[in-house]
């Protein structure tokens, strides 16, 4: 299956909802009028684009209509897709690999966003690319989180560095870095405990984990991924903002996208924050991960 089809499949739910609502808004053979604009606005709000981004995109469509670039309602979708895709520069979706030594990827997020599963998926993804992967189990807080990651590490056949529950996550990160260097790993994926972005002391703990990694391996962490639950609404923007204050977030892993009828948040995040989505999670098996490609994504979202 090609990438486009897999995305299309994974997004079938999103696509059905979004494109159905856009289709009901944008009818074939009808000229654009003020009513079109209003209905388009409602459809975008419902799809979690968020008020600010919706406003911006609606303005784009309105000015295109006023300037005569688009006349019929059926032209609106293509026009929008073109404008949305233009919001993602090519450069910022790459994974930054270390020039030598292990590439360290720190994975963070709020409780229940899907960090551990996402770490497993990334582990599997990099292993398939022929890379030697080690997992660091730094979620020492939640009951059985270490066990959960251990089970994943067996399933995807990678090594794991872990301590007992309740251990200092900074210490685990330290050991994981040492192990990754000693065993000449290509990629070290560090799973961290879920923390609400409103809990200041927990956010500071996350900052500490990053500092431990920085000290241990120069240039690390090469990527700090924030795992966001795709079903989350406008709060995603707050989360990304707060996490960025404590760790240098370089990208977003958008999890559970297969369950969301509201792909709009992807656009909202790109518009509101300067953090690119780098991966999307589309299911429960380790295979269900894709590097994010805005063109394919937006087209799949609106495809019939």
């Amino acid at each position: 299956m090609g990438l486009f089809d897999r995305l299309k499949n994974g997004l079938s739910h999103t696509r059905k909802k979004v494109s159905a609502s856009f289709r009901s808004v944008l009818r074939i053979g009808k000229k654009i009028d003020q009513d079109t604009i209003n209905r388009l606005e409602d459809a975008m709000l419902t799809a979690d684009f968020g008020p600010a981004t919706t406003q911006k995109l609606v303005d784009v469509v309105r000015s295109g209509w006023k300037k005569g670039e688009i006349v019929e309602e059926q032209e609106v979708t293509d026009y929008l897709v073109r404008h949305i895709v233009a919001m993602w520069p090519e450069s910022d979706r790459r994974i930054h690999f270390a020039e030598s030594g292990p590439t360290v990827i720190l994975v963070s997020g709020i409780n229940g966003s899907g960090k551990t599963t996402s770490v497993a998926k990334l582990g599997h993804y990099f292993t398939n690319q022929g890379k030697h992967v080690i997992l660091g189990a730094c979620d020492t807080f939640r009951a059985a989180a270490v066990e959960q990651l251990s089970i994943w590490s067996e399933r995807i056949g990678v090594q794991i560095v872990k301590h007992d529950q309740g251990a200092d996550p900074g210490a685990v990160a330290y050991d994981a870095c040492e192990a990754a260097t000693a065993r000449k790993a290509d990629v070290l994926l560090i799973d961290t405990a879920g923390r609400l972005h409103t809990q200041d002391h927990l956010m500071r703990e996350l900052g500490k984990i990053q500092r431990v990694v920085e000290k241990k391996i120069p240039g690390a962490p090469h990527e700090v991924l924030l795992v966001l639950d795709a079903t989350i609404g406008q709060n995603a923007v707050n989360q990304a903002r707060q996490f960025s204050e404590h760790v240098s977030v370089t990208g977003i892993f958008l999890a559970k996208l297969d369950g969301s009828a509201k792909g709009g948040i992807v656009v909202g995040i790109r518009d509101q924050l300067n953090v690119p989505v780098k991966f999307v999670g589309l299911g429960e098996t380790p295979d269900d991960v894709e590097p994010f490609d805005p063109g394919t994504f937006i087209k799949a979202m609106f495809a019939d």
């Binding site: 419902t46 979690d48 959960q148 089970i151 609400l196 079903t231 709060n235």
Partner: protein
């Protein structure tokens, strides 16, 4: 929680103040703003529309009431509509006898089902019930281990079947086990599932028909966006929910899910999860939440939280100490810790009527309290009973022990005396009265003050030992 919405609505109402009366024109202007405020808060579009129509109708009809100023009238109408939107709620669990009473927890992945099971067990234990938790999440790696660990934490047995593939069987056997071991409530922890996953939705529906639970709860993340209502709708179609448990309510959610689900599903929110601790669960009261959204405070919840922390006898002893002016620094320390157990200072203060607005951007540094604790703990019993004796040499010693500046210690000591006097004055007053006095006091102090509200020297930041930090992390 609700901060953004609260702020938006209050600014809308402020705009109304100073207007002579409610006219159709200024109402529809206000309604547009309210609608945007609701949408920004992730309130479902349908719900926002219905809500605004309702408020608009009532507002225009209400013109006849001349006694109230328009802004107050609007606040009242919006308040009443918010209450209607979220209620009515009866969070009581209908226990059956002979038991066991069965509670089923369902929801999406990562919504917080397993943690909520533990909180529910704790809540039931406090009500003299004997719960049993059943680990029916066979899907997620180590979910069974997680429930077992939580079971140990809250002191509740957990029924597990490690090699079983069939969640329905596990639930059935778990209930049989509860009968055998005389447990009167069974909490079923099911796997997280997407509302669109037919196979998994079938499974949970089968669990429901087989076990016939007294209450079926949907566990829902309070931060869920426009999708919340779809999820709730689909789960409700398949399961006939009895209520919703909203988790992560202590986040900065704008509250869209909280405001939308009742309208869409007809099923109310019954409980809210408000923290990572196992006690962090509360019954949901629409009128209190509406009050909080509109910045009117929530004194009732505050009183309840306080009551949970203090027993009568202790309170009486404290009262006597306060009245006699014998209140010492270590009594203060005990109070400080109790208060911390009630939640963050910011949340507490917001629940006091009239305080929410005053708080604004004020940033309470919780770490300051920890530093105060450290300083008090570094004092001798004599110093704690009579802080006046702390001189320069004692101050240096205490500062060294607590890892802070000597000036921090002198500030603490300096401010304790007026505090003690205030406590003496406060004894005999009602609780809200006291809270108000307390706030005025700390506001006055904030100028030169002990609970310094913002920033602190780097020296005092170091005051946390490694052990302390770990302790705080575990909470």
């Amino acid at each position: 929680m609700f901060d953004a919405l609260s702020e938006r609505l209050n600014s809308v109402f402020r705009g109304l103040r100073g207007r002579g009366k409610i006219t159709e024109e200024n109402v529809s202007e206000v309604m547009r703003e309210i609608r945007t405020a609701l949408l920004e808060a992730d309130v479902n579009l349908e719900v926002a529309r219905a809500f605004c129509d309702e408020v608009q109708q009532k507002a225009i009809g209400a013109e006849v009431i001349k006694t109230l100023r328009p802004a107050d009238m609007m606040v009242k109408i919006v308040h009443d509509e918010l209450v209607r939107l979220m209620g009515p709620v009866d969070p009581k669990i209908p226990f059956i006898s002979p038991g066991p009473t069965i509670l089923l927890m369902a929801g999406l992945q990562g919504s917080g089902k397993t943690t909520t099971c533990g909180k529910m067990a704790k809540l039931l234990l406090a009500r003299a019930k004997r719960p049993l938790m059943v680990a029916a999440d066979l899907k997620r790696p180590a979910a069974i281990d997680q429930l077992e660990v939580i079971g140990q934490q809250v002191g509740t047995p957990v029924y597990t079947e490690r090699d079983q593939q069939n969640a329905v069987k596990v639930c059935r056997n778990g209930i049989a086990q509860a009968r055998k071991t005389d447990r009167d409530v069974v909490i079923l922890d099911t796997a997280g599932r997407l509302a669109v996953d037919e196979e998994m939705m079938d499974e949970v529906a089968r669990i429901a028909t087989t076990t016939n639970p007294q209450q079926i709860y949907l566990v829902l993340d309070a931060m869920t966006g426009q999708d919340a209502v779809n999820t709730a709708r689909v789960f409700n179609q398949r399961l006939e929910l009895d209520g919703i448990i909203l988790t992560k309510f202590d986040s900065d959610t704008r509250g869209g899910a909280a405001l939308s689900v009742k309208h869409v599903t007809g099923k109310p929110i019954k409980f809210v999860g408000i923290g990572e601790k196992m006690e962090a669960i509360e019954e949901f009261y629409p009128d209190r939440i509406a009050g909080r959204i509109l910045g009117m405070g929530d004194i009732l919840t505050l009183v309840e939280q306080a009551q949970r922390q203090y027993d009568q006898e202790e309170a009486a002893k404290l009262e006597a100490k306060m009245a006699s002016g014998k209140f010492a620094l270590d009594d203060f320390l005990v109070q400080l810790r109790k208060m911390r157990q009630m939640g963050s200072m910011k949340d507490l203060i917001k629940k006091i009527p009239g305080m929410g607005d005053m708080m604004g951007d004020m940033d309470l540094d919780e770490g300051e309290i920890v530093r105060m604790e450290a300083a008090i703990q570094s004092m001798t019993p004599k110093e704690k009973a009579n802080p006046k004796i702390v001189d320069a040499s004692r101050r240096r010693r205490i500062a060294r022990g607590a890892g802070c500046d000597p000036s921090d210690v002198s500030q603490l000591v300096k401010q304790f005396e007026p505090m003690r006097n205030m406590m003496k004055a406060m004894s005999g007053q009602s609780l809200p009265q006291r809270l108000k006095m307390g706030m005025q006091f700390s506001k006055a102090m904030a100028g030169g003050g002990l609970p310094r509200l913002k920033g602190s020297s780097t020296a005092s930041r170091r005051s946390l030992s490694k052990k302390d930090r770990r302790k705080r992390r575990k909470r």
